[in-house]
Symmetry: C2
Subunit: 493 residues, 2 copies
Amino acid sequence: MSLNTTITEIDNLLEKAQEAFFIFKNFTVKQRAAFMHQVADAIEALDDELITTAQAETNLPVARLQGEKGRTVFQWRSYADALQSGVVLPVRIDTALPDRQPAPRPSIRKTYTPLGPVVVFCASNFPFAFSTAGGDTASAIAAGCPVIVKAHSAHPKTSGIMAAAINGVIQKAGLPEGLFGHVYSNSFENGTYLVSHPVVKAVGFTGSHGGGKALFDLANKRAEPIPVFAEMGSVNPVFLLAQKLNNAAEEVAKQYAASLTLGVGQFCTNPGIFVAPESPALATFINTLAQQISATPAAPMLHKGIAAAYHTNKTNVLQQPAVEVIAQATEGAEGFGNAAIAITTAADFIANKKLSQEVFGPFGLLVTYKTQEEAAAIAKALEGQLTISIWGETEELADNKTLINIVESKCGRLLFNNFPTGVEVCYAMTHSGPYPSCSDSRFTAVGPDAIKRFARPVSYQNWPDALLPDELKDENVLGVWRTVNGELSKENV
Amino acid sequence: MSLNTTITEIDNLLEKAQEAFFIFKNFTVKQRAAFMHQVADAIEALDDELITTAQAETNLPVARLQGEKGRTVFQWRSYADALQSGVVLPVRIDTALPDRQPAPRPSIRKTYTPLGPVVVFCASNFPFAFSTAGGDTASAIAAGCPVIVKAHSAHPKTSGIMAAAINGVIQKAGLPEGLFGHVYSNSFENGTYLVSHPVVKAVGFTGSHGGGKALFDLANKRAEPIPVFAEMGSVNPVFLLAQKLNNAAEEVAKQYAASLTLGVGQFCTNPGIFVAPESPALATFINTLAQQISATPAAPMLHKGIAAAYHTNKTNVLQQPAVEVIAQATEGAEGFGNAAIAITTAADFIANKKLSQEVFGPFGLLVTYKTQEEAAAIAKALEGQLTISIWGETEELADNKTLINIVESKCGRLLFNNFPTGVEVCYAMTHSGPYPSCSDSRFTAVGPDAIKRFARPVSYQNWPDALLPDELKDENVLGVWRTVNGELSKENV
C-alpha cells in the first residue's frame, strides 16, 4: 500500500506552518541564508542510502543521481548567497525631501516579504533538484516562506530521506517545526486539499500540463486566489539553417541524437521537434540521425506509467497522416523507452496540432521546410516553449531576422548551436516561457531569480530607523546593494 | 448616446497592435525611453482644454487636475529614465566557462522582453494618472508592449484628448500606428472582447473589486491564460496606539479627517477604518473628529453613479447592529458626497464582515479596542490591504511587535504617523497588496517597478555578440548596471 498522509495530519502541518510563518518572516536575509547553508550541508552529507533509494525508485543511473545531488546542494548555497547580495530582491530607498514643493516627500523604503506558506509539488523526473529539497523549496525558503512538500508517489522513500535531512537541520537549530512539512499522497485528494487551504499562499509545481493546469485552475477558484508557478514542459523546437546543414550535417545529427536520448528523453527541455531545410545535405543528416537513434538501446524510464504514456503518445503521433518513421530503436522490456524519430513537412505540421504536443521521452519529429518563410510560419504556429534553439553559421543568423523575431516571442531561452538539455543554475538562466510551457512567464524556476516567485514588495513610509528591517536602515549593516534615490549604492544613507 | 467602438474597429486595432508588437519589441531601451519622453512632452504641452474637459467630466477641482497632469508627465519621464538604468529590468550575464569540470558552461545572458499587446482599463477617479496615458500605459510601453486603452465611460472626452496626444507622437515619429489603440465602450462587451482576444497578452486595471475580479476570472478562463494586474482598492486601516492618543488626540483627529475627506474620499488609499484604544482621551479625539467631519461641506463626486453607491454603501454600514453614527455632514445636492463617521467595537467589527467592506467615499468607521491583544485580533481579521498605518510614539511601536508582525503580512505599504492618501511616484513605492486589494501582490502599480508587470525574462545561450540585444553585448554600450557572474557592474565583459 502506498504512503498517505491523512487530512488531520495535514491540518496539523498547516497550522504549524502558519505559526512558523510569523516567526520566520522576521528572520533577516543573513539568518535565512545561514539556515539554507545548513540544509545544503545536510544534503551533501547524506550517504549512499539516498542514491541507492533514488536509484531503486526512479531507475535513474547512479552517476546522474550523484550529479543531481550536487546540483541540489549548489541550488541551496547559490540562492542563499544571492539572497544576501541585494541583487535578487532589490532594496529601494527614497529619502525624505522635507523641503520639496508643493509638498514634502516622506521617507519611503521597500524590501520583500514572504507570501506565506508555499506548497511544492515534487517532479517525477528530478527526485532531488526539482523535488522535496529542490529548487522550489529552496526558493520559497529563501523568500522566507514555510514549505509543505507533496511527495511524488513514484519516489516517496527518496522524498522521506530528503525531508528528514531538512527537518534535522530545523530541529538542531531550534527553528520552528512548521518551517517544513512533508505530505505523502496516494491520490489527488491531498494535493487538492493543500492548494485549496486558506493558509497556503502560493504553489510551485513541475510536471505535466494536465497536472499544472488543474492546480492553476484550483488556485484561481479559491475565495483568495493565489499564484501558482507551474513549469509544464514543452517540445523545445530546434531550427537548423541551410548553410549549417551543408557544412555539418553529420555533426549536428550526432549532437541532436545525444540530446534527444539523454536520460531516456525525460527532460522538460528535451528537443522533441527538429526543423530542417529541404536540401541534398538533409539525406546525410537523416542517415546519421537514423543510425544514432537505432543504435540507442532502450532503457528503463522513471516508472511504468511514464513508459506506457510514452508508447501511447509516440504511437499517436506516428499514426497521424503525413508522418513517416525514419528510425526506431528496438523495444525493450516493460517500462523501457525506445528512441524513435519520424518526419513530416512544414505544411502538415502547421495543419495538425497533434504533431506539436509533447511526447515525454526520446521521440523526435523532424519537420522539413522549403523556404525561410516556411520556417517562420512553423515558428509562428508554435505554442509557448521553455527553449528554442537555432543551429546555423553566425552569418546566416543575421539573415534570418524574421525567424529570430518570432522565436524570441515564443520562449524563455534561446540557444545558438547548443541543445537545450542541461539547464545551468545561474543568474542569467530563464527556465520558464510563455503559456503553456509555464503558468507565468514573468518568473523563472531555475537560478536565484526563482526566489521572486514567493516574495512580494512591502514599503515602509516614515518608519523609525531602528525598527526597519536591517536592509532598509540608514546604516547599510548587511552591506547589500540598494537603490538610493534611483542610484545603486552600498553606502550608508 | 455614449461613444462606442465597434468590434470590427477593435479587430482592426488588435491586428495593428500585433504588427506593432513585432516592430516595437526590437526597440532598444534607449529608443523606448526616447518615445516615452516625447509622450511626456506632448501631455505637458496640452492646453487648458484638457483641464476644462476633465473638470466637466469628473467634477474634480482644477488644482487637483493640474497636479495630476504633472504627476502623469512625471510617470512617463521617471519610468523612461529608470528603464535606461538597468535597475528595474535587471540584466544578467554569466560568462562561458570553457574549462569547467565535469562540463563547460556556455555563455548565458538574460534580459527582458515584452509580453505582447496589453489592454489597460481606465480608472474613474484618476482621469490622467491611472487612465489613458496613466501609469499602466506608461509601464506597458516601457516594457515594450503596444497598448489598447479601454476609455472610462465617465470621462471619454478627456480620454480622447490624451489618446490624440499619444497618437500624435506616434505619427510624428513614424512609429507603428498599432503601438497605441483607444476603445470607447458603452457596455461590458468591448472590455470582455478585448480581454478574451488571443492577441492580448496582459491586462492592467484600476477600479472596483467587482470589475477587477471579473477581468481576472475572464483572463484565467482563456485557452491561454494571461496575467491581470488589478488594483481593486481597500479600506486602509489606521491603528492608533495609546500614548499617541494621550499626547495628540486633537492633532491626529484633524489629520485623519483631512485624509478621509480629501478629494471627497475618492482614493483607493482612503483610510476608511480607524482603530483606536478605549481611553479617556478618546472622547477628545471623537469630539474633534466629529467637528471636522460635520464642518466638511458635501461636494460633487466623480459621477452620479459613484455618489449613489456611496450613499447606499454608507447606509448599509450604518444600519448594521452595534454601529453608531458619530457625525455626518449635511447632505448635498444629487451627486454630492457628505462625509460621515461612525463607531463600533473590536468584537463587533470582527464578528461582522460587512463592516470591513470598502465604502468608496468620505466615510470612516472608528473601531475601539481594549487591549493590545484585541488590536492584534482586529489586524488578524483584516483582508489584504494596500496600506496600513500606525500612529504612535516611537517607543510604543517597539512594544507592539505582534501587531506590527501581523499588519506587515496584510498590506503593501506600512506607514508610521502618516496617512496613506498621496501615493508618491518613486522607486520605493508599493501600490499593491495581498488579495483582495490587488490580484497579484508581487507587483506594484506605481513607481518604475510597475514596468515589471508587462515584461518577461528571456535568456540567450551561446548567442553571437553582435546579434545580442544591446544591454547584453560584451561592450556595455548602454552603460547600464548588469549582474556579471553574480556581481553588479557597469564594466564591459
